[in-house]
């Protein structure tokens, strides 16, 4: 079969990949001399694997396929390569001959592969193709693995190794010149729309066929232009969004609403005008995958659903009283600089007017400072080349920082606080680790129901430890060992004293709400609180 024929037979099922199919077919054709190595690269969902499989099975070349993402270690990968080759060659029962089915190094693999390829019957000694899918995603791969695998084909003449990469390869990444590359670029607008129109249209009951066939192409193009193109979405996303939105889009026709403007029939433009909000709301939410999909079963209802209810966060977790108090203290400990502890938390400066003024002064100062830092950080992101290390952050407040802080204050808080009520930090100072003793001290300072006789009542520290363990299990408070953030603990989450310091891991208004529930006003102690 000629390469052109292969491409033609595949293109009916997998359109818009003609060139790649022809390239692959001619390179892998059993009659052409074997190519040692071939690199196939392209971003995900560009049909790489499917086309390779299709080409190989149409050409009837003997081949083995290894999904590298399923291999946990490099050794696992090598063993798998060996087995799959044996299986493809029909020598599976003779595994004991080939290193007892074990293969721990690439050099062993070369020998074993050579042996088993040589053991083939006389008539089948043609080309053998080994496809390593997603080989660049291999876990625990040694640095030389890729180039070593690429050499396999050079050593074993009848073997052709196909490396499938999902990232664009660097030049000469195999340490080897002139390795042919086949690139699978992302689909263009026209291709994507063609592919989608070629696949069957989602069914909507009691929609006239004539209307749907007239409107659907326009609809698909609009979806691409509004949602898929700008977000670089893949074909599966494209398809699922079309399937989700199409019933909603044609709902007016199905429900028999009269078209506006005295026309007898709905056409695409009128439907689009009618459904302006659809693309903004449903469409954008369709782009974000959620584990629990939102209910879109009743189109008429969802269309009229006010924005507030759909955006309302589901019930936030409710913690017991004592745990809430500890979490609040942890939050405060994380978000208040230690040097201000005596001003904010000391019992001696509790409620006099001057003390309150002093605290308010520090809160404002902190807020301004934190915004200045945020700006600094933003500037730093714009220009990553500036060396940031070793530079001391100045706490001096100039007039310009002040004014800019006040100008941006409302904008920042509202912008960040928008997401579902949990994510928005009420203060911009990032959480800092704190020692456990400080948490205990702050706990005593913020306790809304302090014991009447603090000398005689037993210490609560032990109870705090117990609850802190639970909070830690919930990842609300995490031990900060070296780095800040929850991804820091690589393994062994159960060890208790990974670090001496702790850090609160959930930011923002949620803790404020919780604390209000037990009678603690968080804002009283926070930068920018109570303003």
């Amino acid at each position: 079969m000629q390469p052109a024929d292969v491409a033609r037979s595949l293109s009916s099922q997998w359109p818009c990949r003609d060139i790649q199919a022809r390239q692959l077919a001619s390179l892998l054709h059993p009659n052409t001399p074997s190519l040692p190595t071939l690199v196939v690269h392209g971003v995900s969902a560009t049909c790489k694997t499917t086309i390779i499989r299709g080409v190989l099975s149409t050409l009837e070349v003997p081949h083995a396929f290894v999904r590298s993402s399923e291999c946990i270690t490099a050794r696992h990968l090598l063993t798998k390569i060996l087995w799959n080759t044996l299986e493809a060659l029909g020598q599976k029962d003779e595994w004991e001959k080939y290193g007892k089915g074990r293969c721990e190094h690439v050099s062993t693999l070369v020998v074993l592969l050579e042996e088993c390829l040589a053991a083939r019957a006389e008539g089948q000694r043609g080309k053998f193709v080994l496809v390593l899918d997603e080989i660049d995603r291999q876990r625990e791969a040694p640095q030389t693995l890729l180039s070593a695998l690429a050499r396999l084909g050079e050593i074993i003449p009848s073997l052709c190794v196909v490396l499938v990469l999902s990232s664009t390869p660097r030049p000469l990444f195999l340490q080897n010149a002139a390795v042919p590359h086949v690139s699978f670029p992302p689909y263009t607008r026209k291709e994507a729309i063609d592919i989608l129109l070629a696949s069957p249209m989602p069914l909507v009951e009691s929609l006239p066929d004539e209307t749907s066939s007239r409107v659907y192409p326009h609809f698909v193009a609009t979806v691409y232009d509004t949602l898929i193109g700008p977000t670089a979405g893949s074909i599966p996303t494209f398809r699922s969004i079309c399937h989700q939105l199409w019933p909603l889009f044609v709902a007016p026709v199905v429900q028999g609403e009269a078209p506006p403007g005295g026309n007898a029939e709905w056409d695409f433009t009128r439907l689009l005008v009618k459904n302006r909000a659809l693309f903004r709301r449903q469409g954008e939410s369709a782009l974000v995958h959620r584990i629990v999909p939102e209910d879109t079963s009743a189109p008429s209802k969802t269309l009229r659903k006010p924005l507030a209810t759909s955006a309302a966060p589901s019930a936030l977790p409710h913690l017991p009283y004592f745990s809430t108090l500890i979490l609040t203290s942890a939050y405060l400990a994380s978000h208040t600089p230690q040097r201000l502890d005596t001003i904010f938390f000391s019992k001696f400066s509790s409620s006099s007017l001057s003390a309150r003024n002093k605290r308010a002064h520090h809160r404002r100062r902190l807020k301004v400072l934190s915004q200045a830092q945020a700006e600094d950080r933003a500037a730093g992101n714009d220009d990553p080349s500036t060396p940031r290390k070793g530079k001391r952050t100045k706490t001096r407040i100039t007039k310009s920082t002040l004014s800019s802080a006040f100008a941006t204050s409302s904008a920042t808080t509202s912008a960040v606080g928008g997401g579902a009520g949990i994510t928005g930090p009420s203060t911009i100072l990032s959480a800092r680790p704190f020692p456990l003793e400080r948490l205990l001290a702050i706990y005593h300072a913020v306790d809304p129901n302090p014991p009447e006789n603090p000398i005689n009542t037993a210490a609560v520290a032990d109870q705090i430890y117990a609850e802190l363990a639970t909070l830690r299990r919930l990842r609300l408070v995490v031990p900060a060992s070296g780095h800040v953030g929850f991804a820091s603990t690589g393994s062994g989450n159960t060890s208790a004293d990974a670090g001496e310091k702790w850090c609160v891991n959930v930011s923002g208004d949620w803790i404020g709400e919780l604390a209000k529930g037990i009678g603690v006003e968080v804002g009283e102690w926070l930068a920018g609180g109570l303003d």
């Binding site: 993402s69 584990i291 017991p320 001290a441 520290a461 609850e467 062994g492």
Partner: protein, 698 residues
């Protein structure tokens, strides 16, 4: 301090030789070398003796050891009987609570496949809130159901089992296979395969297993999903995703916070692998309320928890993370301590008088405060002969006590019947905030319920009900109310009245707000408002009478029943209300104990002299001395200063004879002890300083 004592002090902890920071090296004496070698520890089989002795003589004889063995045994048996009945009940409540979610999850697992989830892994998100243990129960029952029907099984993975990808895969595969095959089956499965031996973390193993068993659903449950490392979770899930066409995975994620929080922490790529449904397990509080209710209102109940204990228990559930199991353990402990330590509890076992008629038990009864009150009441009632009898005749006393115990038990039951009745009423009268049974019980047990605002409000609201509301209210009352209330009569009267006047809409009592009229009169440019009754129709008057009867009967009933339980004679036997062993046991205070031991070592150690004068003395352990010096210092302390102070303590005691080097080694030993407690660390600010990292009394 003499050197021998020092050596002893340093040698006292042979077992801590492993992690000792500082020790004095003593070369072994040549002659004793062989005998010094620690003898090997043998495995001591203690199982044989335990089997026999567990049932006999669990409880020690009380009353100064004068109690006879039968009584002690009887106490034990009564406890066992009582608690096993209660435990069964608790179990059935827990199962009942989970039943709804279990059915949902089961049908989700059965109905969903990757095809129905757009090719994603079918995922059930189970939010458990503070009810942490419920997921374990749920999963084990799910596993039972799935494995008995042969559909598959549940693999439970905890964050502790998953330090890295390899280990977690190994654990998953092993757990999946041992779930049905057992441990030996797993070994056999791994070794007796046709092909080459697979690596332990190769999902091909699981694939083989699934093919061989014909598993349709393999549920992987992550019990504490939040505690998993997100990177690891991502790796695991993407692996499952790629195997999804061969192994039918379903993932269940236990979430303790909220779905949004959890989802927000995962990478987007990870979220896009999952799709499914959200399940919510009932809050622990509800569960605990139900357990408490069933414990206290048990018709066969013999022992009740008093108001102190109840409030302690409920405080614990409301203020802390606590599972229903932990709650039931606390109740069990309360039951246990009652039967273990209270000789009167033998009376609950309805004993034959012969077994218990002991002088000591009668003496104990005579010393009860409730006995004293009872006698005073008898005297006031004018029957001094009875009192004399009680004081002098043991047999009569026991008889009386037993009859009063059973009478008191009945009274307790009635109290809880009343509580349930009030709760039933409140379901109708309170609209917004519903009081639950446990809150009402606390008040009832302290004898305050009858005068409380809740009951007053309830009666006032019942008065204003029209017939449309009163009918259902009467219907829904529990059967346990006594016949003396004449509820049936009231019901029939109401029914006939409503039947005869059915055409005029609901009947209203005179207390109803619609039945009173506000009159407005203008007198000398002032407006006077006066309330008056509107003219009630005849049927409304009739209805008002019925309402009055009902409320009157209720009031009478409640005043009669809702007494203070502490007034009952012999309440010490059937009402357990000691707060202390429970509270102490369930809130251990290691830090407090540690600080106390270090600051006042003679609270725990026996002092050879009366160490009253100086707070710090040489007789104390070195660590304690150093700790007390440490308490006097600031946040940063110079080591040399500390050493000087430490040395001064010894110098003042021993004068010039003290051994520098010995004291130095003691100092180092104490310092390393404090370091291992986490109380000090090296300061980064100043090299020769220590930073204090723990403060006393927090």
């Amino acid at each position: 301090m003499d050197p021998e004592g020092l050596e002893d002090a340093l040698d006292l902890s042979r077992d801590r030789a492993q992690n000792q920071g500082v020790y004095i090296y003593q070369p072994a004496k040549p002659g004793k070398a062989t005998s010094e070698r620690p003898s090997k520890r043998r495995k001591v089989s203690s199982t044989d003796s335990r089997g026999q002795s567990s049932d006999v003589q669990c409880f020690v004889p009380l009353l100064n050891g004068e109690e006879n063995a039968e009584s002690a045994q009887l106490r034990y048996e009564t406890y066992k009987k009582l608690w096993s009945a209660q435990e069964d009940k608790i179990q059935s409540i827990l199962e009942d609570v989970d039943a709804g979610v279990l059915a949902d999850v089961l049908s989700f697992v059965r109905d969903n496949s990757p095809q129905t989830c757009n090719g994603c892994i079918p995922t059930g998100l189970v939010t458990v809130g503070s009810n942490v243990s419920s997921l374990t129960r749920l999963l084990s029952r799910l596993n039972d159901q799935l494995s008995t029907s042969g559909e598959g099984g549940v693999v439970v993975l905890e964050s502790g089992d998953a330090p890295n990808l390899k280990t977690s895969l190994k654990n998953i595969i092993r757990a999946a296979i041992t779930n049905t095959e057992g441990n030996d089956g797993y070994q056999k499965f791994v070794t007796d395969r046709a092909g080459p031996r697979l690596l332990g973390y190769d999902l091909d193993l699981l694939n083989d297993y699934v093919q061989r068993k014909g598993t349709k659903k393999l549920v992987l449950a992550l019990r504490d999903s939040e505690a998993f490392d997100p990177g690891l979770l991502m790796d695991l899930l993407s692996l499952f995703k790629s195997w999804l066409d061969r192994i039918p995975f379903t993932v269940l994620l236990g979430i303790s916070t909220s779905v949004e929080l959890f989802e927000g922490r995962l990478p987007r790529a990870c979220v896009s692998l999952l799709q499914g449904k959200h399940f919510e397990v009932q809050e622990a509080g509800n569960c605990v309320d139900r357990i408490y209710e069933s414990l206290q209102t048990d018709p066969q109940g013999k022992l009740w928890l008093g108001c102190n204990i109840t409030s302690t228990l409920l405080e614990k559930t409301h203020d802390y993370f606590q599972t229903p199991e932990a709650f039931s353990r606390m109740v069990k402990y309360a039951y246990m301590s009652h039967f273990f330590a209270n000789p009167l509890s033998v009376l609950l076992g309805s004993p034959a008088p012969a077994t218990v008629s002991q002088i000591w038990l009668c003496e104990a009864i005579r010393n009860l405060p409730s006995f004293r009150m009872f006698c005073e009441d008898l005297l006031e009632a004018g029957s001094p002969d009875d009192v004399r009898n009680l004081l002098e005749n043991d047999g009569y006393l026991l008889e009386e006590a037993l009859s009063h115990v059973s009478a008191g038990q009945q009274r307790m039951q009635q109290i809880f019947h009343a509580v349930i009745a009030i709760h039933a009423f409140l379901q109708h009268t309170q609209s917004a905030k519903k009081a639950n049974v446990s809150d009402l019980s606390v008040r009832a047990l302290s004898g305050e319920l009858n005068e409380s605002q809740v009951v007053d409000d309830m009666l006032a609201t019942v008065r204003t009900f029209d017939s449309g509301k009163l009918g259902p209210l009467l219907e829904s009352l529990p059967e346990t109310l006594p016949a003396g209330l004449a509820l049936d009569e009231i019901r029939t009267d109401l029914a006939t009245l409503v039947d005869t006047n059915g055409d005029f809409g609901p009947l209203r009592s005179e207390y109803n707000i619609n039945s009173s009229v506000v009159k407005t009169t203008v007198v000398q440019q002032r407006i006077l408002l006066s309330k008056g009754k509107s003219n009630l129709s005849k049927r409304d008057v009739e209805y008002t009478k019925i309402v009055d009867r009902l409320v009157g009967a209720l009031q009478e009933y409640l005043t009669e029943i809702l007494i203070q339980p502490q007034e009952l004679f012999m309440h010490e036997a059937f009402l357990f209300d000691l707060r202390n062993p429970l509270k102490e046991t369930f809130t251990p205070r290691p830090r407090f104990a540690l600080e106390r031991a270090l600051a006042n070592p003679f609270d725990y150690l026996i002092s050879s002299t009366n160490a009253s004068g100086a707070r710090i003395s040489v007789k104390q352990p070195a660590t304690a001395i150093l700790y007390q010096l440490y308490l006097e210092s600031g946040a940063l302390v110079n080591i040399h200063d500390l050493w000087q102070a430490f040395y001064a303590v010894f110098e003042s005691d021993q004068g010039n004879t003290c051994d520098d080097r010995m004291i130095m080694s003691l100092f180092y030993g104490a310092l390393s002890d404090l370091k291992s407690f986490g109380m000090i660390k090296n300061s980064r600010k100043k090299t020769d300083h220590l930073a204090k990292s723990a403060w006393m009394g927090l």
